[in-house]
């Protein structure tokens, strides 16, 4: 550990003053040993531990705060990191003040006060050092301002001390007996010493404060003049003492800095001629000589010979243990510079002056001496050496063989510096070329970029070579800090070269083994960045692998690997992916596969991020790591973990806002997915016959959990947006979060707030989209923004005191923009319709999720809007959207009182579209027309207008019987009709409207439809649905029979037809073709219901498997092939089933 020299040195006198009797633990000595060993942190802990120790006397315990402060001060000297140093100094200052407050009568009080003032000065120094760094250029004025304030504060403290000490000294009698008044004499001596120190330091602070203002300014001169005066006063009174001589030196410095070289030289020479010869005087003389030489080196003096003469004397006479002192080294370099200049002067007079070579040889010698010593002067010395002709170019230096670590390290730094120029060139040209239209110029620039890139890469390679050389030369004597700084550079280079594994290894090594090193944090950051890169690379490379895995294992092509499919995997894969199913849904999806493949990388990322946050919790790196961890956890689907990390980011951290936004979005997505899953389960359950009330109870707990997630999402997003507002920064994260938050507010009945986000003057979503801000360039963002805007306006209609007219106008504007955005092409129209349909679904969902009290208002709001929109529009898209929305509103709660009303409105609008189409007021192609007709029929059916619905459908089918969706709708219509007129069950099953041309029926019914599509590719869903509904109709019709025997007979038939379907076409789940629905549950549930009515054991489909196959009426050969095998294709009659021509009992074969 190298001690940093500083003028306000902490003295080690404490050991003497607090030497303990041997009735106690030797605490002071132990403490000093800990400090000497560099165990400052342990020393501080020791001081805390001994507060209650019976082994330590009260005398020492009284000074614990002081000791703590001194320890921390010493620690601060050993740290190069500014932020850490400042923090330590703050801590030391607090401890010193505490001591002064608690021990105002302690003998150490004055020392504590002096140290307090020294802390302040040290803090000012740090500010000045920082202000010189290029990275702090923007803060330079602020830093210097702060430094000035600190100097003022320190000055005040020293002045106070001075006054107090003066009073105390004056209270002691001037004449004292050395024996009798021994104690008083000692006190007087101590006070005098403290007084002188305070006086001196007061002047020194004034002098140093000049660094914090502009050189040459009035304030600068004022400070130096004041310091000069203080020094002068001190010298006058104490000229024979060291303190007085030091004051003289201070006078010299002040004059020098004021440019008064003559006066400065007079003081310096006076000191240089002082006959006293001890170590303190030597140091004084060195400094005086240095000052004098600097004055002589000034262009106004140019007395190079004097510099050479005087500095040589000092340098040659320096005792060995002083030869490497900073001042002496500086003197050497000044000598070298003077020699260079003097040589030029001599050459001008006589080119062959023999002194030239001698001087140069000497200068080289002096420069070489400094060049070998690690420190701030090494580089300038090497540069001078080069200029003298002994150093060579950087490249030559880089290719050299090095014998010491210091040499090699310097060469490595120089080699790295050489890479900066080509990098800058590369970056600058890359930007410039974007704005260069001229092809020839671009070609030339591309050539230059390529050259710069080569130079840069070569430079990096060379630097790496030298770095490795240097690392190999390190030995036990090499300072750990120097070694680690070099490793830091190495790590950085490797990262830049894309060698991420190596960079991560070295970075982590330094960070973990040397956590207190100045390079530790940077190394940790590079390690983290390296692991992230490796993760990204592995993830990208894994895509073909995932595709291959899915191809091999995903038999049902649902993009996921089920447990059954996983069982077929190789042992190696089973081992590797044993824990891949993170979300425990019994399927492994692509995301989970990626996680399994990137486990090494993700574990290391989490590990290093955790280490950084634990090791340096108060540093910016900790917060950056937390931000990285959060993103990572979100990607991995571990939202709960991401939230715990969020709590660790301080509220005022710049990372906090964006982390909140990311988590908020993830929480909202989780909420939406969760609600979606519940809805799907509810729908399936309803279809299976469960009632809504039971389902409400069943899913209540899950809904409550999701509500908590939703509330968290809202809060997190809100907090994040507020924080980002303060930064003024608009990026993709903020834009996405605004969108998410608006959706949250819409769905939580806070639509007016969502409007605020949409319309915000600075970062409103609409503004960003209109301005084509780079933050909203993501594909689909525009459309999503318009959708959210529309929903927010529509939903706001439900709010109290809403300005309906204005809101509707805004909504209309948005719809116009949507249309403009997507375009007027035919394709664009379809896209627009799709957007409207999805919007309608979102509205439907919103209504479903709404609370009871808000739902009616919401619906009313929508209706108002829809009416307005529909009435004022002649556009297909708009009208279609209005009709769809009404239909969705009805579907969202079919049992609601206004469901019929909504269906009627939907029907009216669809009809309007068709009518306008007929009148050519709207352009409707056949497909669109049919689609709308189906929708119309559906709405009529839902509204209970079955006749009209059937007429519509019949017209469509008359034109084309093969329209399967229409056939299904027709059957469905009869089925719903049957609830009022049970005989319609038969019609639903057997069809209606005989067709003399085909000898079939225009409306096939479920039975006819099933026969038509049986075994046909792409009609799996339709077939099974038709057969299912056929059996449902049989079942329900049976239940309407009052005669038990008849009912039983019909029930048996229902069971039989179900059984036959299953026997002949057992592939209820599908054959692996995408989008094939699994009908197993429906069939099973229906069968059980039938069995229940027949008072048979409710074994469902499972029971069927044990029974012999059903009688195959009309199916002589196909059954054997069909049973257990895939559905036969191509020949619908091969698997002909009951129904169709024969029909259900009571079927007349004609129209009802």
């Amino acid at each position: 550990m190298k001690a940093r020299s500083w003028r306000y040195a902490v003295t080690g006198w404490l050991v003497l003053l607090t030497q303990t009797a041997w009735s106690e633990e030797p605490a002071a000595e132990f403490l000093e040993k800990l400090r000497e060993a560099g165990y400052f942190d342990t020393a501080v802990e020791y001081l805390e531990l001994i507060q209650d120790s019976p082994l330590v006397g009260t005398g020492f315990k009284e000074v614990l705060p002081y000791e703590r402060a001194v320890t921390i001060l010493r620690q601060a000297h050993s740290i190069r990191d500014f932020a850490v140093r400042e923090k330590l100094l703050d801590s030391a200052y607090t401890a010193l003040r505490q001591f002064q407050a608690e021990r105002s009568d302690h003998p150490l009080l004055m020392d504590a006060r002096r140290e307090s003032a020294n802390v302040v000065v040290e803090r000012a120094r740090i500010k000045i050092e920082r202000s010189k760094k290029p990275s702090e250029a923007a803060n330079k004025a602020l830093l210097l301002g702060d430094a000035l304030k600190l100097f003022e504060e320190a000055q005040k403290l020293f002045a106070e001390q001075q006054s107090e000490l003066k009073v105390r000294l004056e209270s002691i009698p001037k004449v004292l007996d050395r024996t009798r008044d021994a104690k008083l004499v000692e006190t007087q001596t101590q006070l005098r010493s403290s007084y002188l120190q305070a006086m001196f330091l007061s002047a020194a602070v004034r002098e140093e404060a000049a660094q914090a203002v502009e050189a040459g300014s009035e304030q600068y001169k004022q400070f130096l003049n004041e310091a000069k005066q203080q020094y002068e006063a001190m010298f006058k009174n104490y000229r024979t003492r060291i303190a007085g001589l030091k004051a003289r030196l201070g006078q010299g410095r002040c004059e020098q800095r004021l440019g008064n070289f003559k006066e400065a030289l007079s003081y310096y020479l006076e000191l240089m001629d002082n006959p006293e010869d001890n170590e303190t005087m030597f140091e004084l003389k060195v400094e005086a000589t240095l000052g004098a030489c600097q004055c002589w080196m000034d262009a106004s003096q140019a007395k190079y010979a004097a510099v050479i003469e005087k500095s040589r004397v000092v340098v040659e006479k320096a005792p060995p243990h002083k030869a490497r002192d900073e001042m002496v080294l500086k003197l050497r370099l000044l000598l070298v510079e003077a020699a260079k200049k003097y040589v030029e002067e001599l050459k001008m007079k006589n080119a062959k002056d023999p002194q030239v070579n001698l001087l140069l040889a000497d200068a080289r010698k002096y420069a070489q001496f400094v060049a070998k010593i690690n420190g701030e002067l090494q580089k300038p010395a090497q540069k001078l050496l080069g200029e003298l002709g002994g150093g060579g170019s950087v490249a030559a230096v880089a290719k050299k063989k090095y014998r010491t670590f210091d040499e090699a390290k310097t060469a490595a730094m120089e080699a790295y510096d050489e890479t900066k120029a080509p990098k800058l060139t590369m970056d600058a040209l890359t930007e410039q070329i974007k704005e260069t239209p001229d092809a020839a110029e671009r070609k030339e620039m591309e050539k230059q970029i390529a050259e710069a890139k080569t130079a840069y890469e070569d430079g990096l390679n060379e630097t790496v070579r030298v770095v490795k050389n240097a690392l190999g030369l390190a030995d036990k004597e090499t300072a750990p800090d120097d070694l680690n700084n070099l490793r830091n550079l190495y790590c950085f280079l490797l990262y830049n070269q894309g060698q991420y594994y190596s960079a991560a290894t070295i970075g982590e090594f330094v960070a973990r083994r040397y956590p207190d090193a100045s390079a530790a944090r940077t190394c940790a950051k590079i390690a983290m960045a390296s692991y992230l890169k490796i993760y990204q690379e592995t993830k990208a490379e894994s895509k073909p692998l995932i595709d291959r895995f899915l191809e091999l294992l995903d038999k049902d092509n649902d993009g996921r690997i089920s447990q059954e499919e996983f069982a077929a995997a190789s042992d190696e894969i089973k081992t590797q992916w044993a824990d891949a199913d993170v979300n425990q849904d019994k399927k492994i999806d692509a995301g989970e596969i990626v996680r399994a493949l990137t486990r090494f990388e993700s574990d290391h990322i989490v590990d290093i991020c955790n280490y950084i946050t634990l090791k340096w919790p108060d540093q910016p790196e900790a917060q950056e790591s937390l931000g990285t961890l959060i993103s990572f956890m979100i990607t991995e689907g571990q939202l709960a973990k991401a939230e715990t990390y969020l709590d660790k980011i301080p509220a005022d951290s710049p990372q906090r806002g964006s982390a909140e936004l990311r988590i908020g979005q993830a929480q909202w997505s989780a909420y939406v997915r969760g609600m979606q899953a519940i809805r799907e389960q509810e729908e399936a359950a309803i279809k299976a016959g469960q009632d809504r009330a039971t389902l409400e109870n069943q899913f209540r707990a899950q809904r409550e959990e999701l509500k908590v997630v939703k509330n968290r999402a809202e809060k997190t997003l809100e907090d994040g947006v507020k924080r980002m507002e303060q930064t003024g920064k608009i990026d993709t994260t903020l834009a996405s979060a605004l969108l998410a938050l608006a959706q949250v507010w819409i769905d939580t009945n806070q639509a007016p707030r969502a409007v605020g986000l949409v319309e915000h003057p600075q970062y409103g979503l609409l503004k960003l989209v209109v301005d084509e801000h780079e933050a909203v360039q993501k594909r689909g963002f525009r459309e999503d923004t318009f959708k959210v805007a529309l929903r927010s306006y529509i939903s706001s209609l439900a709010a109290k005191d809403s300005d309906a007219k204005s809101l509707i106008q805004k909504a209309n504007d948005i719809m116009a923009r949507l249309k403009q955005s997507i375009g007027g092409s035919a394709e664009g129209q379809k896209t627009l319709v799709a957007v409207y349909i999805s919007l309608a679904r979102e509205l439907e969902q919103q209504i479903r999720l709404a609370t009871d009290e808000s739902r009616s208002g919401l619906i009313q709001g929508f209706k108002t809007f829809l009416d307005q929109v529909g009435a004022g529009s002649n556009e297909l898209n708009v009208l279609y959207w209005v009709a769809s929305t009404y239909a969705s509103m009805a579907d969202s709660n079919p049992q609601a009182k206004d469901a019929v009303e909504h269906n009627k409105r939907a029907a009216e609008t669809y009809q309007l579209i068709l009518d306008k189409g007929k009148r050519n007021e709207l352009s409707l192609d056949a497909a669109m027309r049919n689609q709308i007709a189906i929708q119309l029929a559906r709405s009529k059916r839902a509204a209970g207008d079955f006749d009209s619905a059937m007429n519509l459908l019949k017209d469509l089918l008359t034109a084309n019987q093969g329209l399967v969706p229409v056939q299904m709708e027709a059957a469905r219509t009869y089925q719903d009709w049957a609830e009022k007129d049970p005989k319609k069950y038969v019609t639903a099953g057997d069809g209606n409207f005989p067709d003399p041309k085909t000898r079939g029926k225009i409306v096939w019914g479920w039975g006819g439809l099933a026969n038509k599509v049986a075994g046909k590719q792409g009609f799996h869903n339709q077939f099974y649905e038709a057969r299912y509904n056929y059996s449902v109709c049989q079942y329900r019709y049976a239940l309407t029979q009052t005669d038990i025997a008849e009912r039983t007979k019909l029930l048996s038939k229902a069971r039989q037809s179900l059984r036959q379907t299953v026997d002949l076409y057992p592939n209820l789940q599908g054959d692996g073709t995408p989008n094939q629905r699994d009908f197993t549950r429906d069939y099973d549930s229906l069968l059980k219901s039938i069995q229940k009515q027949l008072k048979e054991p409710e074994t469902g489909l499972a029971g069927l498997k044990k029974e012999p196959p059903a009688a195959k009426a009309g199916t002589p050969k196909a059954s054997a092939a069909a049973a257990g095998g895939p559905a036969p294709s191509g020949n619908p009659k091969s698997g002909a089933l009951p129904g169709g021509a024969k029909g259900l009992p009571g079927s007349s074969g004609g129209s009802p």
């Binding site: 132990f30 165990y39 342990t42 802990e45 531990l49 750990p480 083994r513 956590p515």
Partner: protein, 349 residues
């Protein structure tokens, strides 16, 4: 190992006054140096493990061997002075190197021959204790020396050294027997020291109850000389260590704290052991920070005794590692391996 099976008790019984031939009084004189390092010239005429007789111009004076720090012989070669200087500085390797250059058979003086042979064996033993190499050889050599020279005045020093060697090799049973020989010395403080050493060896075998008994016997001994008191203090530390191992850590802590309070920290050996014992107490009561501080006391201030320092380093390595100060752990490990590579504490670090 046959030699080691020899009973030390029997050896002592057969050891007795051994007559030596010596040069006339007018030749260069022998010198006996006492505890104050004051030499008394004369001729050594008799020597046993307990006493040495010196013929002086004023008559024969008999010294108890516990009063003697060293004996120089009139006819010893010049190199012996350098050997003794190296021994004084504990520079055993340099001393051994010089001793090996001397031929013990070249002298007629039996005492001088014994001195050279003993010092060689002793140096080898001391080196082996620290470096860990050839301990068995060193033990055998030293044991063999005493087989043929049971009346040598450094018998008890040798017995203690043998016990230390045996302990270092992990053969604590044998160590107890060697220490027991030390306990046969006629002086109470030697007996006490032997008891303390035996107790340490017993504790090393985890026979804490037995060890504690021995320690308590030492503590209760009425002897009150400075050395006796010192041994009592060491026994107190030992007792505390046994209490700690028996689960009575708080009681042990109190004993150790009182000891530190009431004794001079200049006694590096005592304080080193006391702080190690404190460290062990804090480890047992799961207070690693406090434990670290105690061991650091040993490493930074009371590192004079090799085994004590090695023990402290051993624990410091683990504690620093737990506290994620791996650079400091590495530093401790380097010191332990470099300086005490042969110690049991260096194993497995």
């Amino acid at each position: 190992m046959a030699a080691r099976e020899m009973k030390w008790g029997i050896m002592l019984a057969v050891g007795g006054l051994t007559a030596f031939a010596g040069p006339p009084m007018t030749a260069a004189q022998d010198k006996i140096f006492n505890q104050k390092n004051i030499p008394l010239p004369g001729t050594v005429t008799e020597m046993t493990a307990d006493k040495v007789a010196l013929e002086t111009p004023t008559g024969v004076r008999t010294f108890e061997t516990n009063e003697i720090t060293r004996i120089t012989y009139g006819e010893e070669p010049r190199e012996m002075a350098k050997v003794r200087d190296n021994l004084r500085d504990a520079n055993y390797e340099a001393a051994l190197s010089d001793l090996k250059s001397l031929d013990p058979t070249a002298t007629n003086r039996e005492l001088l021959r014994q001195e050279i042979l003993y010092l060689r064996a002793m140096c080898e033993a001391r080196i082996a204790l620290v470096s860990g190499g050839k301990r068995e050889d060193a033990l055998n050599n030293l044991q063999n020396f005493f087989k043929g020279n049971a009346g040598y005045y450094r018998f008890y020093e040798g017995a203690e050294l043998l016990g230390d060697l045996a302990s270092a090799m992990g053969d604590f049973g044998q160590a107890v027997r060697f220490y027991a020989a030390l306990g046969k010395a006629p002086w109470p403080d030697y007996k006490l020291r032997a008891n303390v050493l035996e107790a340490r060896a017993l504790a090393a075998q985890s026979k804490f109850a037995e060890a504690q008994e021995r320690y308590e016997a030492v503590i209760a001994n009425p002897e009150s000389s400075a050395e006796a008191n010192r041994q009592k203090m060491l026994a107190t530390v030992g007792k505390a260590a046994c209490l700690n191992q028996g689960g009575k850590s708080e009681e042990a802590l109190k004993i150790l704290e009182d000891l530190i309070k009431n004794n001079d920290s200049k006694d590096s050996r005592l304080f080193g052991r006391a702080y190690n014992a404190l460290g062990a107490c804090y480890l047992r009561t799961k207070r690693p920070k406090e434990a670290l501080i105690q061991y650091l006391h040993v490493h930074l201030m009371f590192y004079g005794e090799a085994d004590t320092h090695a023990e402290a380093l051993h624990h410091l390595i683990k504690l620093w590692t737990e506290m994620q100060k791996s650079d400091r752990a590495i530093e401790m490990r380097a010191i332990l391996v470099e300086q005490y590579g042969g110690s049991v504490w260096a194993k497995g670090v």
